[in-house]
C-alpha cells in the first residue's frame, strides 16, 4: 500500500443559513492513496459534494466555515493562502462536475477553456497551449478533435461536453481527480464509455480518483475502496468487495438492499417489491405478497396502434419547416388492466412524448389510441376532459408538479371538485383517505408542498392522480429523481396500489434495473420507434435487438465480483431523431419470437 496522497481528519463544514451556523459535514476522516479510486457514496444531503468542494476550497467564503485538517501531498490545504490554493487547483488537484450542460462557459471556445489551465499553471503561450490542448482532446478520445478546438460548447452533446470537462481537468496531469457525479446526467451507454475512459486515464496517468456518486452500480464498477456517508457523517469505510459482501452499518445494508440489480429477477415472471431495511435500526420489512393476476385474455384497457408524433423545426428567413423531430414513429402496443408496461430508452428516444401523446397533452400526428373502447383522438374537449379522469400522469419532479401556492389538501381535492365527483365536505374526507392510502397522515392536508420531502411529494402526486379513480397511470420517470431508498418505497407503493385497485401503469424510465423490478412487459424505444417488445423476462434475459443488447450491457452491475473486463474505449453519440422535412420513415418488419416477444428487423 502506498502512502496517503490526500488525508482528511475530522473535517467539519458548516453553512450559515438565516444567521445560524449549520453543520453539513461532521467529523469526517478518510484517506485517498496515490493511484487508487475511492468512491464516496451517499444520497442527497449526505454532504458528499460539500466534502469535495471543501477539499477544493471552492465554498463561498462569506457564509461557510471549514475546520479540521485536509493534507494533500504534505501540505495542509485549510491553512494555505488563497493564491497558493489557486495554483494547486486545476494543476495538482482537479475536479469535474455533474452537469456537463452548464459547467462549460457558453461564450468561450472549448479549445480556450482547456488551454486556460495550461496557460496559468504551465506558463505556456497561446500556440503551445493550443497544441497541447489538441493532444489532450485526443487522449479523451474526442472524435475529430482538431476541428473541435474552435467550437463553442452548445455544439456538443452532453457526453462530448463531459469529455471536454475531463480534458480540462487532466490538462496539467493532476495527482488527484475529484469527480462529482460525473456520469449522473448522462445516458447509460454514454455513462459506460465515460467510466471506461476515466478508468483508462487513471491507469495511464497514475493519478488518484475520488469518485462521488449515489449509484452503487457505478461504485462496484470503478472503486477500490468505498466511504459511505449519511447526513453529513461517515458511516462506513472499506474495500469494495468486502463492503458489498458484508456491509456493517444498517444504512449500508439498507442502501444495498434497495438497489435494484439487473438480473435479480431472473427466473421470476411476476414483478416483486423490495425488502425495506430501516436505516437506523436495520429492521427488515417484508413486502406483502401480490395477489392479483392479469386478465390477458380480456380486451386491453389501452390499445395504441401506429402512433406517430412529430414536431416541426423551423428555421431560415421565412421560418419554413426545415426539419422534423420524429419523436414518436409508428408505435403500437396494448396494455391490460393491472399490468405494467415499461417504456425504456435513452434521452430523446421519444418515451416521454409517447406518454404525453396518449393523454393528448401533445397532439399526435397519426395512429389510433383506444382507451376503454373509446377512440381518444376523436374525442372533443369535453370528452377528453372526461377521459382524463380515467387516465392520469405522474411526473419526474414531484416538486415542480405541485403548485407551490396551494395546500396539498386543496391540490388533491381540486380535481374531485372540478369534475363534480363530490362536494367540498365529501372531497375533504376523500383527501384524508387518499393521504392515508399513500402512507401520509390526513392532518398534513393543510401544509404546502415545500414542507414535504422529495419522497413525500411523490406520494402526494400519486394521491392527486388517484383522486379521480383512474384505471391507467402514465408514470413518466416517476422515481428517477428520488434517492435509492426512497425510490424503493415509492415502487413498493405503486405495486401495492396496482394490486389493490387493478391499475395499469405505463412506466416510462431510463433505469433498466428499476424496470426489471416493476414491469410485466417491456418495450425498448430507440429514435422514436419501439425496436423490441415482450415479457420482461424475455427482453432482459434474451435481448434480441442489437440496441437492446447494447443497453443491457451498459447498465452498471452493483456487484464488484461481476465487474466487467476492461473494454476497448469507444466514443459514440446518441443519434438524433431530427430528420429532414422530406424524410419518409422506412417500412419496418417484425419478427415474432413467441410468447408475445417481438423484435424489429434491421
Amino acid at each position: 500500500m502506498s502512502a496517503a496522497l490526500l488525508s482528511i481528519r475530522d473535517l467539519t463544514t458548516s453553512f450559515r443559513v438565516d444567521g445560524q451556523w449549520r453543520d453539513v459535514v461532521r467529523h469526517v476522516s478518510f484517506d485517498v492513496r496515490a493511484g487508487e479510486t475511492l468512491a464516496i457514496v451517499g444520497e442527497s444531503g449526505s454532504g458528499k459534494s460539500v466534502t469535495a468542494l471543501s477539499i477544493m476550497g471552492l465554498l463561498p467564503q462569506a457564509n461557510s466555515r471549514t475546520t479540521g485538517e485536509i493534507r494533500f501531498d504534505g501540505r495542509d490545504l485549510l491553512s494555505l493562502p488563497e493564491e497558493e490554493m489557486r495554483q494547486l487547483r486545476g494543476n495538482r488537484l482537479a475536479m469535474i462536475f455533474q452537469e456537463p450542460m452548464t459547467s462549460l462557459n457558453p461564450v468561450l471556445t472549448i479549445g480556450f477553456q482547456i488551454a486556460e489551465a495550461l496557460i496559468y499553471h504551465r506558463g505556456l503561450d497561446r500556440s503551445a497551449a493550443a497544441a497541447e490542448t489538441l493532444r489532450i482532446l485526443e487522449r479523451v478520445r474526442m472524435p475529430a478533435a482538431a476541428s473541435r478546438l474552435d467550437d463553442y460548447p452548445h455544439r456538443l452533446s452532453g457526453g462530448m461536453r463531459q469529455r471536454v470537462m475531463i480534458a480540462m481537468s487532466l490538462a496539467c496531469r493532476p495527482r488527484l481527480l475529484i469527480a462529482d457525479e460525473p456520469t449522473t446526467a448522462l445516458d447509460v451507454t454514454i455513462q459506460a464509455e465515460i467510466l471506461e475512459l476515466i478508468k483508462t486515464l487513471q491507469r495511464e496517468e497514475e493519478m488518484a480518483v475520488a469518485f462521488i456518486t449515489h449509484d452503487m452500480g457505478v461504485v462496484a464498477e470503478i472503486a477500490d475502496r468505498v466511504v459511505v456517508m449519511l447526513q453529513g457523517e461517515k458511516v462506513e469505510e472499506g474495500a469494495t468487495p468486502a463492503l458489498f459482501k458484508n456491509p456493517q452499518a444498517p444504512y449500508t445494508r439498507a442502501l444495498l438492499a434497495a438497489v435494484p440489480r439487473l438480473g435479480d429477477m431472473a427466473g421470476r415472471s411476476e414483478p416483486e417489491p423490495f425488502v425495506l431495511i430501516d436505516v437506523l435500526s436495520g429492521a427488515e420489512t417484508m413486502p406483502a405478497k401480490r395477489q392479483r393476476r392479469i386478465d390477458a385474455a380480456g380486451a386491453p384497457l389501452l390499445e395504441v396502434a401506429g402512433l406517430s408524433t412529430r414536431f416541426d423545426v423551423r428555421s431560415g428567413v421565412f421560418s419554413r419547416v426545415s426539419a422534423r423531430v420524429h419523436a414518436v414513429e409508428n408505435i403500437s402496443f396494448a396494455l391490460h388492466a393491472g399490468e405494467t408496461l415499461a417504456l425504456v430508452g435513452e434521452s430523446g428516444c421519444g418515451k416521454s412524448t409517447t406518454g404525453r401523446s396518449i393523454l393528448r397533452l401533445v397532439e399526435p400526428l397519426a395512429g389510433s389510441i383506444r382507451f376503454e373502447g373509446h377512440d381518444v383522438r376523436a374525442l372533443d374537449r369535453e370528452g377528453l376532459r372526461r377521459a382524463r379522469q380515467r387516465m392520469q400522469m405522474i411526473f419526474q419532479d414531484p416538486y415542480a408538479s405541485l403548485n407551490p401556492r396551494k395546500t396539498v389538501g386543496g391540490a388533491i381535492a381540486e380535481p374531485i371538485i372540478v369534475h363534480g365527483l363530490a362536494g367540498r365536505a365529501e372531497a375533504a374526507e376523500r383527501v384524508g383517505a387518499l393521504l392515508k392510502r399513500v402512507g401520509l397522515s390526513p392532518d398534513m392536508a393543510g401544509r404546502f408542498p415545500h414542507e414535504f420531502s422529495g419522497g413525500q411529494r411523490q406520494r402526494l402526486c400519486i394521491a392527486r392522480a388517484l383522486a379521480l379513480a383512474p384505471k391507467l397511470i402514465v408514470a413518466d420517470e416517476a422515481v428517477s429523481a428520488l434517492d435509492v431508498s426512497i425510490k424503493a418505497q415509492i415502487i413498493n407503493l405503486m405495486m401495492e396500489l396496482q394490486d389493490e385497485l387493478g391499475l395499469a401503469f405505463l412506466f416510462i424510465s431510463h433505469d433498466i434495473a428499476v424496470v426489471e423490478r416493476i414491469s410485466h412487459r417491456v418495450a425498448v424505444m430507440y429514435l422514436g420507434e419501439i425496436v423490441e417488445i415482450g415479457p420482461r423476462a424475455a427482453i432482459i434475459d434474451h435481448p434480441a435487438h442489437p440496441y437492446t443488447r447494447r443497453l443491457m450491457a451498459a447498465v452498471p452491475v452493483p456487484d464488484p465480483a461481476r465487474r466487467r473486463p476492461a473494454r476497448a474505449l469507444s466514443t459514440s453519440d446518441i443519434p438524433s431523431p431530427v430528420r429532414s422535412a422530406d424524410f419518409v420513415p422506412p417500412l419496418r418488419r417484425w419478427r415474432d419470437l413467441g410468447g408475445g416477444h417481438h423484435v424489429m428487423e434491421e
Binding site: M56, L58, R86, Q87, L88, R89, G90, N91, A94, M95, F97, E99, T102, S103, L104, N105, P106, V107, L108, E116, A117, Y120, H121, Y152, H154, M165, M168, S169, S315, G316, V317
Partner: protein, 312 residues
C-alpha cells in the same frame, strides 16, 4: 447568423411600416379637422380649404396613406407649416446635436456603469454594493429635467463654470462649455441604469456552474470575473441597453429643453406648441428610423456577444 440578421432586417422593415402607419393614424384620429385646429377659430372657410388641399386632406384616406408612405421613404416629408421650409432639412440641421449628445452620454454611462455594476455584484452586500445600489436607484428616480435643473442651478448659475444658455460649437472650448452639463445629466442617468442591469446580470452569472469550473481550474479571480463572468453578463446588458435607448431619446428631449440646446427635443416641442403637423409627422419618421437602426445595431452586438445566436 446570416439568417438571423436577414430576419432582423425584415423585422426592422416591418417595424418601420408599422410605426409609419401608426403615425399616420395618430395624426388623423384627432377629433375635428386638423386644418381648423391649426388655423384656429377665426379662420375663413377659404383659408381652411386651401390648407386642407395643401395637406392633402381632401384626398381619400388610402391616397393620403400612399402619398405619406411614398414620401416618407423618398425623404420628402413635406414642408413645415410654420417656417415653410422642407421638414427633412430642418430635422437634419439639428440631428447631429442630438446624436452627439446621446452618444456621449451613452459612453459616459457605459464607462461608469459597467465597472460599477461589476464591482457591486462581486462585493455583494458590502459597502460598494450598497453605495452603488442607492446611487443608481437615486439616479433612476430623478426626472431628467429636475436633475438638469439642479446641474444648471449649481454649475451654471451658482458656480458660473458654464454658461446658462449655450449653442455655439465653433471652438473646442465652446463645444466643451455647451455639451458638458447636458451630457453629464444624461450620462449619469444612463450610468445609473447600466449599473443596475450589469449588477443583476453579473450576480446571476457568478452563480453559474461554469464560474465554479473556472475557479476549479485555478483561473485567477480577476480573470474569472472579467473573462468568464462579464462576457456572459454582457449578453443581457446589451439587450436591455438596446431597450433603454428609447428612454434615452425621451430623456434627451427634456435635457435639451432645460439647457436650451438645439436638437430634436427643441424641434419637437416647438412643433407641438405651434401645431406644426407636417413637422410632427416628419419627426416621428426620423425617430422611427433611429429606433430601427439602433435595434439592428443591438441585434448585431448581441450576435457577436453570444455564439449561440448562430443556431437560430
Amino acid at each position: 447568423m446570416t439568417a438571423f440578421l436577414v430576419r432582423r432586417c425584415g423585422f426592422a422593415l416591418v417595424t418601420l411600416f408599422a410605426v409609419l402607419t401608426l403615425v399616420f393614424v395618430l395624426v388623423r384620429i384627432v377629433p375635428g379637422d386638423p386644418a381648423q385646429l391649426i388655423l384656429g377659430d377665426q379662420a375663413s372657410r377659404e383659408t381652411i380649404e386651401a390648407l386642407r388641399q395643401r395637406l392633402g386632406l381632401d384626398k381619400s384616406l388610402f391616397e393620403q396613406y400612399s402619398v405619406f408612405i411614398a414620401g416618407a421613404l423618398r425623404g420628402d416629408w413635406g414642408t413645415s407649416l410654420v417656417t415653410g421650409r422642407p421638414v427633412i432639412g430642418e430635422v437634419l440641421n439639428v440631428l447631429p446635436w442630438t446624436i452627439e449628445l446621446t452618444l456621449l452620454s451613452l459612453a459616459i454611462g457605459i464607462v461608469i456603469g459597467v465597472p460599477l455594476g461589476v464591482a457591486a455584484a462581486v462585493r455583494r452586500n458590502r459597502f460598494v454594493d450598497y453605495a452603488a445600489r442607492i446611487a443608481s436607484l437615486l439616479g433612476l428616480s430623478f426626472p431628467p429635467f429636475v436633475s438638469a435643473l439642479l446641474l444648471l442651478l449649481g454649475f451654471a448659475i451658482a458656480l458660473r463654470w458654464f454658461p446658462v444658455i449655450s449653442g455655439k460649437n465653433a471652438t473646442f472650448y465652446e463645444w466643451y462649455q455647451s455639451i458638458t452639463l447636458p451630457a453629464l445629466n444624461l450620462g449619469l442617468i444612463t450610468a445609473a441604469y447600466i449599473t443596475r442591469v450589469t449588477r443583476s446580470a453579473m450576480l446571476e452569472v457568478l452563480q453559474e456552474d461554469y464560474v465554479r469550473t473556472a475557479r476549479a481550474k485555478g483561473v485567477p479571480w480577476r480573470a474569472v470575473i472579467w473573462r468568464h463572468g462579464l462576457r456572459n453578463a454582457l449578453i443581457p446588458v446589451i439587450t436591455i441597453v438596446g431597450l433603454y435607448l428609447g428612454i434615452l431619446i425621451g430623456n434627451s428631449v427634456l435635457t435639451e429643453i432645460v439647457f436650451s440646446r438645439p436638437g430634436l427635443g427643441k424641434l419637437i416641442v416647438g412643433a407641438l406648441n405651434q401645431r406644426d403637423y407636417t413637422m410632427l409627422q416628419g419627426m416621428m419618421v426620423i425617430y422611427t428610423l433611429v429606433v430601427v437602426i439602433v435595434n439592428l445595431l443591438t441585434d448585431l452586438a448581441y450576435g457577436i456577444a453570444d455564439p449561440r445566436v448562430k443556431l437560430r
